[in-house]
Amino acid sequence: MTALVGIALTSIFVQNFVLVKFYGICPFLGVSKKLDTALGMGMAVTFVMTLASMLTWACQKFILVPLDMEYMQTIAFIVIIAALVQFVEMFLQKSIPSLYSALGIYLPLITTNCAVLGVALLNVRTASVINLLGTYTLIESVVNGFSAGIGFLLAIVLFAGVRERLESSDIPKALQGFPIALISASLLAMAFMGFQGMSF
């Protein structure tokens, strides 16, 4: 249990996917203009990351390792994630239309998001705490995927809050728009760097 809490805290704060590892910068900068769309994107990413962690772990364990072809990880995982997102989209549209319309275009957008692929690849490369001989177990992978998504959600929501404030502040002309967004993102990243050195 302690190990799982440690994994969760690490991927939310210490190794935050966006602000420390710099994965998923595209949606982080692209969909953070408004707080509610940022929230939608964050939820969608969390959702997909959790499911993707589960499936890619299974793919690694039951297909890639037995056939001795771990080097195909990137391609295999991308295919699985893309199919998963498609499937989830269809499922939601039929079963939970309200959630489907809330996530909107963000769901298909994260099909090839590097943060999702990143979490899948890290899951099969990080040494497990529970099983001392191998990499992450299924439960560790799922917890890692979920908390990486929560880390993304936290980062994008914080950043959207900052950007909404920026809209109404007096910014020098040369810095208006994207430049100030990048500067604020880097300041936010520096704040998260403060967690460096903590280990669980």
Binding site: C59, I63, M72, A76, V79, I80, A83, F87, M90, F91
Partner: protein, 269 residues
């Protein structure tokens, strides 16, 4: 050979499996959609202005395909869109009643007096909340800070000489401006309407004369002259019942203040 064949086969199998799964899922989770709704949505302007009375273009398209809505409610799209929808739905198009916004004030800077000089935020709502309902002497008139122009999606409203002026060519009749005006000066009327009263003041005639040279003084000349009884003076201001009006133009010629004006230059009868 095995090094190439095995991964290729394995990946192929994974891909095939996922493909089959997705194909199956698309059958199981198929959501019944009326294809006509999508087609209709593609011919609608897509501005989601809401002038049809639905939440947006796609909601309107869905309502048409279900037979709940008439096909001629899209004012911005006009006749061409109605014809396109008629083709899709297989019915004959009815005439579209195109609408546009009209502003009931003609009190330009030179004609309407000011109470004080306003140097605050350029926004009608802010200005109208100040002492006396804004800087204009007439508390009913257009303040000219362009809150209506700011919300207009078609840039159809301009501030000229201190009052808002609608470009009827550009106006789609969505009604955003009418909602934004704190003085409730803007109304949405069918484009075929010819004569409107360019004043909204409830002040008595004598008071009105001091404040604005183009304000309705409630003299009732128009009311007496209208052959069909379409004009009534209520609360010291003339009002035209457009459903009765025959666009004869007698009121325009008789109005001593010239506040009844023709908004359509071409003969709309």
């Amino acid at each position: 050979m095995k090094e190439i064949l095995l991964p290729a086969l394995a990946m192929g199998a994974v891909g095939l499996l996922l493909g089959l799964l997705l194909a199956l899922a698309s059958k199981i989770f198929a959501v019944e959609k009326d294809e006509r709704a999508e087609e209709i949505a593609s011919v609608l302007p897509g501005a989601n202005c809401g002038s049809c009375g639905y939440a947006g273009c796609s909601a309107y398209a869905a309502a048409i395909s279900k037979g709940e809505a008439k096909i001629n409610c899209c004012s911005p799209g006009g006749q061409s869109v109605a014809d396109a929808i008629a083709d899709i739905m297989g019915v004959s198009a009815e005439a579209v009643e195109e609408k546009c916004a009209v502003i009931a004030c003609n009190g330009t800077i030179d004609k309407a007096a000011d109470k004080y000089e306003y140097v605050g935020i350029e926004d009608c709502l802010t200005a109208s909340r100040l002492q006396g309902g804004g800087s204009k002497a007439c508390t009913y008139g257009c303040l000219g800070y362009g809150s209506c122009a700011k919300v207009c999606q078609n840039n159809a409203i301009k501030i000229e000489n201190g009052i808002a002026v609608v470009d009827m060519e550009k106006c789609g009749g969505c009604g955003e401006c009418a909602a934004a005006c704190p003085k409730n000066l803007i109304s949405i009327v069918p484009k075929k309407v010819k004569y409107i009263v360019k004043c909204h003041s409830c002040d008595k005639g004598a008071e009105m004369k001091e404040k604005c040279s183009v304000g309705c003084i409630g003299c009732r000349i128009c009311e007496k002259n209208c052959p069909v009884g379409a004009i009534k003076v209520e609360n010291n201001c003339a009002q035209i019942d457009q459903s009765v009006c025959i666009s004869c133009g007698l009121c325009e010629s008789k109005c001593p203040k010239k506040i009844i004006v023709a908004i359509n230059k071409d003969d709309a009868q």
